[in-house]
């Protein structure tokens, strides 16, 4: 059914909201990538089956025209606390169950859906406290502000009807009928929205520059959904969880700048995001929210997906444009910039997923409301993926300017297994590390840049003292070496040189001259590379050398790896004071390098030891040490 005008849309919105109002319970099964990996698909299917088997009215789509008191079973977007998955939420009780398997479903249907009782064993329980209303009472959520993710965990991620029922596409209606293009751009500019993809360029300014150029014959609106930073999955979650929010933002951008053709460039490693976007685009097209003469306004916007094929560099704007054109994804020299000559050499607005997803609420609630969150220079909220050696991993959303301490300790619950905090890698391979001294630094674009890192798209990888920073630098150089497109010399040749030096240092073959050489190479690569990937490639090295120079010197001069990671630089030893002679290590050693008699301290023969770490992993006395 196509909406031909605003009245059609409003009538449908009323109808969809009424259908939602008729439900008795809503069962939301988290279907983010994390929960899907933990088996949530089977849980969802089992719910549908079990509710039907119990003779209860079950609906998975509004097309079914469900009767009063029906059970609405839906796949929803990422609830955030991936570690607890698969998560299930039962509304209107606001009740959360964690680690749900298909085998638990019958009991939930019987107790909770039929009788309104709580299945206690599935409620999150930490340190003796239970958290039935996870998103309001669990510490992980308390300091979060979920604006962008408000729908994730509340409505279906595959239903445009539910999105419309809760006010979706209202911003589009406002932009189409109550605002001029200039007013839309002014609102976005006033909100201070800065690009969430890494550089933090003001979105309104970019739109302004494209708006003044002629559309002869076409201008493009492109979404960068090539979230390639390892350790980052925010955009993935937005696309999977609330795809219409981003699509609505893109249509509004199109109206504002006079662009009628849109592309979403999404990486192929996100099959589920591709699937959800495909569903969402088709739904929007069917209802006439995409296509010609949207809601009878005379405005047009066409949108299609362009799938990436596994090249990190395509996250760079001009490389992305080449890739959309079907070419090798190498960057272009600038100027001209993308706003002037982008996709097919036409004026192009390029923003990332999160930036577009912010647009509908700015239009609907206004720039002043938006500026009520975050800091003066970086308004709004920001999503981060919190991963690494932290207790609660997952997807979080906080106001810009929240401190690292709040994120790591209040939200993340501190480090895993009583490790001691050492650093957090922010901004992926282009970013840097933040350490103890930055724990109270407000995370916003400018503050983070000042200390030599970038917010980037928002990946936070937390590392404890058992992580070797030299090895982490080597790891990132390995990554960039592999992903360098090979077009410009400094990046193609320079990065492998740095990587080779780091390889040597981690093997204990480095010299102090190597450190100077790395500094020089890094400076050259930074200055002379063609694109953002090259210019930022040495950042992990520069930032670890800046904050962990001691560790480099330990590797080079003392030939030691303080974290006990670089295998050539330590041997395993058994501390005779701690060893109780339980023989567990000797029994598990794959090469019989450990000898000793029962109840006597054991000994490792370093000439036989292959440093596999099995003994250390098995020792209950912490008696095995790297020296």
């Amino acid at each position: 059914m196509k909406f031909n005008n605003v009245e059609d849309f409003k009538a449908a919105q009323k109808k969809f909201a009424a259908i939602l109002g008729k439900e008795k319970n809503r069962v939301l099964v988290c279907s983010g990538t994390g929960c899907m990996a933990a088996g949530s698909k089977a849980v969802y299917e089992k719910f549908v089956e079990a509710i039907k088997a119990a003779g209860l009215p079950c609906s998975v789509s509004m097309q079914d025209e469900p009767e009063e008191g029906y059970f609405n079973v839906k796949k929803c977007g990422c609830i955030g606390c991936c570690e607890l998955g698969p998560l299930v939420r039962i509304d209107p009780y606001d009740l959360f169950y964690a680690h749900v398997t298909a085998d638990d479903v019958d009991e939930i249907v019987e107790k909770t859906l039929k009788n309104g009782e709580v299945v206690e064993r599935l409620v999150v329980n930490e340190d003796g406290v239970s958290y039935p209303h996870l998103t309001t009472d669990f510490p992980f959520y308390k300091k979060q502000t979920r604006n962008l993710m408000e729908h994730c965990g509340n409505i279906s991620s595959e239903s445009i009807e539910e999105y419309i029922a809760v006010g979706g596409y209202d911003a589009l209606v406002k932009a189409l009928f109550s605002m001029t293009s200039d007013e839309i751009i002014a609102e976005v500019s006033n909100s201070g929205l800065r690009g969430r993809g890494g550089a933090g360029f003001p979105a309104g300014k970019k739109w302004e520059q494209v708006a003044v150029l002629p559309a002869d014959p076409v201008k493009y609106v492109v979404c960068n959904a090539d979230e390639g930073d390892p350790g980052a999955f925010m955009d993935c979650s937005v696309m999977e969880g609330d795809p219409h929010r981003m699509i609505e933002g893109m249509i509004i951008a199109g109206i504002a700048v006079g662009g009628e053709v849109g592309y979403i460039y999404v990486r192929a490693e996100y099959p589920q995001a591709v699937a959800r976007l495909t569903i969402a685009i088709n739904q929007a097209r069917e209802y006439g929210l995409l296509g010609q003469n949207i809601l009878g306004s005379g405005k047009n916007f066409e949108l299609s997906l362009s799938k990436g094929a596994g090249a990190f560099v395509c996250g760079e704007g001009s490389a992305l444009a080449n890739s959309i054109e079907g070419k090798r994804g190498t960057p272009r020299p600038k100027p001209p910039r993308l706003v002037e000559k982008g996709v097919f050499d036409r004026p192009t607005v390029l923003n990332n997923v999160e930036t577009y997803a912010n647009v509908p609420m700015i239009i609907e609630k206004g720039a002043d409301w938006y500026k009520g969150f975050g800091t003066e220079g970086s308004p709004g909220t920001k999503t981060f993926s919190l991963t690494g050696n932290i207790k609660h991993t997952g997807l979080i959303e906080v106001p810009m300017g929240t401190t690292l301490r709040t994120i790591i300790y209040d939200i993340g619950g501190g480090l895993k297994e009583d490790r001691v905090f050492k650093a957090v890698q922010i901004g992926g391979p282009s970013g840097g590390c933040l350490t103890n001294e930055h724990l109270d630094l407000p995370l916003d674009f400018d503050s983070v840049k000042q200390v030599g890192a970038i917010i980037g798209s928002g990946g936070l990888v937390v590392m404890g003292t058992d992580t070797c920073m030299v090895e982490i630098a080597r790891f990132f150089m390995n990554f960039t070496k592999k992903e360098s497109c090979g077009k410009c010399t400094t990046c193609r040749e320079g990065v492998p040189r740095i990587q080779a030096i780091l390889e040597r240092i981690t093997k204990g073959e480095g010299t102090m001259d190597d450190l100077d050489m790395m500094q020089e190479l890094a400076d050259t690569i930074k200055t002379c590379s063609l694109c953002g990937l090259g210019k930022t490639a040495p950042n992990p090295v520069l930032s670890t050398m800046r904050y962990f120079r001691d560790e480099y010197i330990a590797h080079v001069v003392d030939k030691k790896c303080p974290a006990g990671v670089c295998k050539d630089l330590f041997v395993y030893q058994i501390n005779p004071d701690k060893c109780i002679g339980c023989t567990l290590c000797a029994r598990n050693c794959p090469v019989d390098a450990i000898t000793g008699t029962l109840k006597q301290p054991h000994h490792i023969d370093t000439s036989k030891c292959i440093k596999c770490g099995t003994c250390k992993a098995n020792c209950r006395q912490n008696a095995i040490e790297e020296v």
Partner: protein, 159 residues
């Protein structure tokens, strides 16, 4: 497997025989054959009006395209940052050991296993992760990796 040019034609028709569509076209061909057969690439180049060297350049630029066949089980071991700090190297080592393959080896001689190292599967919250064909296995350990390989070996009757 012989290349079915009728199939290639239908893929070309879906996308339109246009130079700018070659990435999507190659993705669909790879979906069918699990790699890009040389004759198919030459055929597509001809149809969209591109030289073979150009299309070869595009195909080899992107990580996802393969010019050689793959094993029955494609095991992608994630080595993104989150997986790396949770010791994915040990999982990778266990994978090589259990399959009897060497670092750098792509497909096992019997055609059962293909090992690929990838840089992020997006399930960072459950690191380290491994993907076997389309199925993600989370919170991996070297022991779980060995068990997984053993399971496949038993199913396929590999010793």
């Amino acid at each position: 497997m012989k290349t079915d040019f009728k199939l290639i034609d239908s893929i070309l028709e879906q996308h339109g025989s246009d130079k700018s569509k070659v990435i999507g076209i190659m993705q669909d061909i790879q979906k069918e054959y699990r790699y890009l057969p040389e004759d198919a690439l030459k055929y597509v180049a001809d149809k969209v009006g591109m030289s073979y060297s150009k299309i070869y350049g595009v195909a080899t630029f992107y990580e996802n395209f393969s010019l050689e066949g793959k094993g029955k089980y494609v095991i992608k071991c994630c080595n993104g940052t989150a997986c790396h700090v949770r010791k994915s190297d040990d999982v990778q080592a266990a994978l090589w050991e259990a399959t009897g393959m060497k670092p750098g080896q792509h497909t096992s001689a019997d055609g059962v296993f293909t090992i690929e190292r990838v840089s992020c599967l997006g399930s960072c919250g459950l690191a380290p992760t491994v993907m076997v064909n389309d199925e993600v296995h989370s919170k991996m350990t070297p022991d779980k990796m060995r068990a997984l390989v053993q399971e496949i070996k038993e199913k396929e009757g590999v010793k």
